[in-house]
Symmetry: C2
Subunit: 88 residues, 2 copies
């Protein structure tokens, strides 16, 4: 068993209303950033997890998303090992 740090990103689906994103968009325009076309706000969830392998850690995190972390009707999610995410 090894320790893995996973990054889960949960994002509102395209086309659905995102009031928090709209509020940030408006604030950015007010602060002088005119080039901002759209803002969407989701969650970034960092999970330290003990698992047999990186694959099983990612599979567990995807299951967590389906059961708890993401709303399957309104949100999409992506899971990555944080080392990989940090390299981007």
């Amino acid at each position: 068993m090894s320790q893995y740090r996973l990054e889960v990103r949960v994002k509102p689906r395209p086309g659905l209303l995102d009031p928090q994103g709209k509020a940030i968009h408006h604030s950015l325009n007010s602060l002088g950033w005119d080039g901002v076309a759209d803002v969407r706000v989701g969650k970034a969830i960092y999970i330290d997890l003990e698992a047999e392998s990186a694959e099983s850690a990612i599979a567990a995190a995807e299951e967590m998303c389906r059961k708890l972390l993401a709303n399957p009707v309104t949100e999409d999610f992506a899971v990555a090992l944080e080392q990989e995410a940090a390299a981007s």
Copy 2:
């Protein structure tokens, strides 16, 4: 001027209390995931931005984090072009 999609991740600093993360951690344990050692919750903000170059888009997003999106006392942030983030 081109259109860029940036992903900003805002994360509570290590050591600071994160009640939302604690609540998720507890829920995951209740659902049977015993291998979870820690959970931290931050924000993932997706910004569509018009800019001269990828570098200036990233610089603008970092400035947005310092002025509006992140609390400099309690949060760290990272900015990436979404194409790069999606590749991870």
